[in-house]
């Protein structure tokens, strides 16, 4: 679990008020290296906000941006909605599957990448598009996908 003082800091920034639960969870997840809200953290947050843990899980499991399962350091979100479907989503998915040897919803063995399908990310003008962290990549080609992956791999070592 992330250090409790980090979570305390986030809770404090949101006045320890359960009304801010969604923002708190987004922030808590963002500081967790495995990009998720662990049971331990969920319990900690629930206790400190004085709400039942079921309420925390209701929110974590409802919203696509939150995860209750560990994810890779880089979560690759591949848009599979209308415009990207027209513009080559199937190929983009294949490129990533071939390169990472995982299916959507899975994480690579080294814990570096998770892949998931996501509805429209508002990048239809550069479709087919994906999002990794806060970066949006568009007009994808096989070469571009390889470039992105090697760049992210390089940034780690």
């Amino acid at each position: 679990m992330v250090e409790t003082r980090v979570i305390d800091g986030i809770l404090g920034a949101y006045q320890n008020d359960a009304v801010n639960l969604l923002q708190i969870l987004l922030k808590v997840q963002s500081v967790e290296p495995k990009n998720y809200v662990s049971e331990e953290v969920a319990m900690y947050v629930a206790n400190h906000l004085d709400i039942p843990i079921s309420r925390v899980y209701e929110v974590v499991t409802y919203f696509a941006a939150l995860s209750h399962k560990p994810q890779g350091k880089h979560v690759i979100q591949i848009c599979n909605t209308t415009v990207c479907q027209l513009n080559g989503f199937n190929e983009v998915l294949k490129w990533f599957k071939d390169a990472l040897k995982i299916n959507p919803g899975e994480t690579t063995a080294d814990g570096l990448f998770s892949m998931k399908l996501t509805p429209c990310i508002g990048a239809c003008d550069i479709s087919p598009a994906i999002k990794i962290g806060t970066n949006v990549y568009g007009n994808l080609t096989k070469e571009k996908v390889e470039e992105i992956l090697s760049e992210l791999r390089g940034a780690i070592s």
């Binding site: 919203f63 209308t82 027209l86 508002g122 239809c124």
Partner: protein, 414 residues
């Protein structure tokens, strides 16, 4: 044509002094000079309707918000732009956020609301810092905070991040998510405008609508209504994408034909013909190439069972399969349904099964009847606007692409 997007590329979208240099905040000053009631009249006269897709008359909306009496009152800017094919709000935030903030201040001033929230979708997290910085700059300059421009009126804005839920673009679902709950719409009445966020009166208003209000106040209502057609004045910011050469955001006066608008994106890739277009987002109608002479106005589109919606136009070419496309739309709804009410949650699943049958040419006359019944049931009985409009693409596709829905088996079943 630039009215709402007049400032695009005139400054970097970040420098508040540059915005002021472009006559920024003159719309707000004019609103203050005229007073709230006259400003509301001005917005009414402009004929502006909600640009997120609901198409509710904006002037009336602000007026209704003004009437509500409560300890606290909220103005929420709906920047949860989630309709597939729509990215115009993204550009309005990126390239001219001060126009948006100015619109929020004008609306809050008219509605007598002191608290504002920009509800921005999580997918636009790369713009969240830009939004917060811009809010702070407005505060430093005295356009936000206590006693704005010596009016005695105070207004603060904060940012709220969505978390990847399409339904949260709906007013009540949005309020629920802001209250730390899963984003599921509430039953109406009471309405959001009466008991919304934290059960206080809440005015939820789209990014483009707010931006348009600023532009209308700045350039004058008559300059807005001179554009477009008499029954559908003004301009609309449109997102064009799909199989076109130059996808992007274009501002067009109402009344242009769909063909003319698509021509702005420099035609279909690979010199192919247009197969079909979807207008207004995932829950928008689907039209064939033969309907592209239709004028882009609320009334003309309605006559074709289509609506302006978010102003998205997704273009597919002649080789794209309408049933594959519908299947994709359906999967999107299945993924995004909040699951609260049966018509949307189960209806979309049944549609998926039926579409599979049409695709494999095994559908019977009973399946066709079922397809229509489910669509009617969804439009009639869904709790929120999302569920009620989800049938539109399926209905319009059935109307305009009958051949794709051919029955299978022998003719005896007919």
């Amino acid at each position: 044509m630039k009215f709402i997007t007049a400032n695009f590329d005139q400054y970097d979208g970040k420098d508040i002094q540059a915005y002021i240099g472009l006559d920024g905040f003159s719309g707000l000053k004019k609103a203050i000079e005229m007073g709230p009631l006259a400003t509301i009249e001005e917005v009414k006269e402009s004929g502006l309707q909600g640009r997120g897709g609901a198409e509710y008359p904006t002037g009336r909306k602000i007026e209704q918000a003004r009437i509500e009496k409560a300890e606290r009152k909220f103005v929420i800017c709906n920047a949860d732009e989630g309709e597939p094919g729509t990215f115009k709000d993204r550009e309005l935030i990126k390239k001219d956020i001060y126009q948006l903030i100015e619109g929020m201040i004008i609306v809050a001033y008219c509605a007598n609301a002191n608290e504002g929230v920009i509800y921005c979708r999580e997918e636009y997290d790369w713009m969240h810092e830009h939004i917060c910085t811009s809010i702070l700059k407005c505060k430093e300059m005295g356009y936000l905070g206590i006693n704005i421009l010596d009016t005695g009126f105070s207004f603060e804005i904060s940012l709220f991040s969505g978390a990847g839920s399409y339904v949260c673009g709906e007013g009540f679902a949005m309020c629920e998510s802001m209250e730390g709950k899963s984003g599921r719409p509430r039953s109406k009445p009471p309405y959001v405008k009466q008991e919304g966020y934290l059960n206080y009166p809440t005015l939820v208003i789209n990014v483009e609508t707010l931006s348009a209000i600023t532009a209308i106040m700045k350039f004058g209502t008559s300059n807005f209504t001179d554009l477009g057609t008499p029954d559908c004045p003004g301009t609309k910011v449109i997102s064009i994408s799909g199989k076109v050469n130059k996808p992007g955001v274009y501002e067009v006066p109402f009344g242009k034909t769909l063909e003319e608008i698509i021509a702005l994106a420099e035609g279909v890739k690979g010199d192919k013909r247009i197969g079909f277009v979807q207008i207004g987002g995932a829950s928008g109608g689907i039209l064939p190439e033969s309907a592209l002479k239709t004028q882009f106005t609320y009334r003309e589109l309605k006559s074709k069972q289509v609506s302006v919606g978010s102003g998205a136009i997704v273009v597919a070419d002649e080789d794209d399969n309408i049933l594959d496309y519908l299947e994709n739309v359906g999967q999107f709804f299945i993924h995004e349904s909040c699951g609260k009410c049966v018509p949307c949650r189960e209806g979309n699943r049944q549609l998926e099964i039926l579409l599979g049958k049409f695709k494999h040419k095994t559908a019977t006359i009973d399946d066709v009847k079922m397809y229509k019944d489910i669509l009617d049931m969804m439009s009639e009985a869904s709790l929120c606007g999302s569920g009620r409009t989800e049938p539109v693409p399926f209905k319009t596709a059935f109307t305009y692409f009958e051949d794709a829905f051919a029955l299978g088996g022998s003719h005896e079943i007919l």
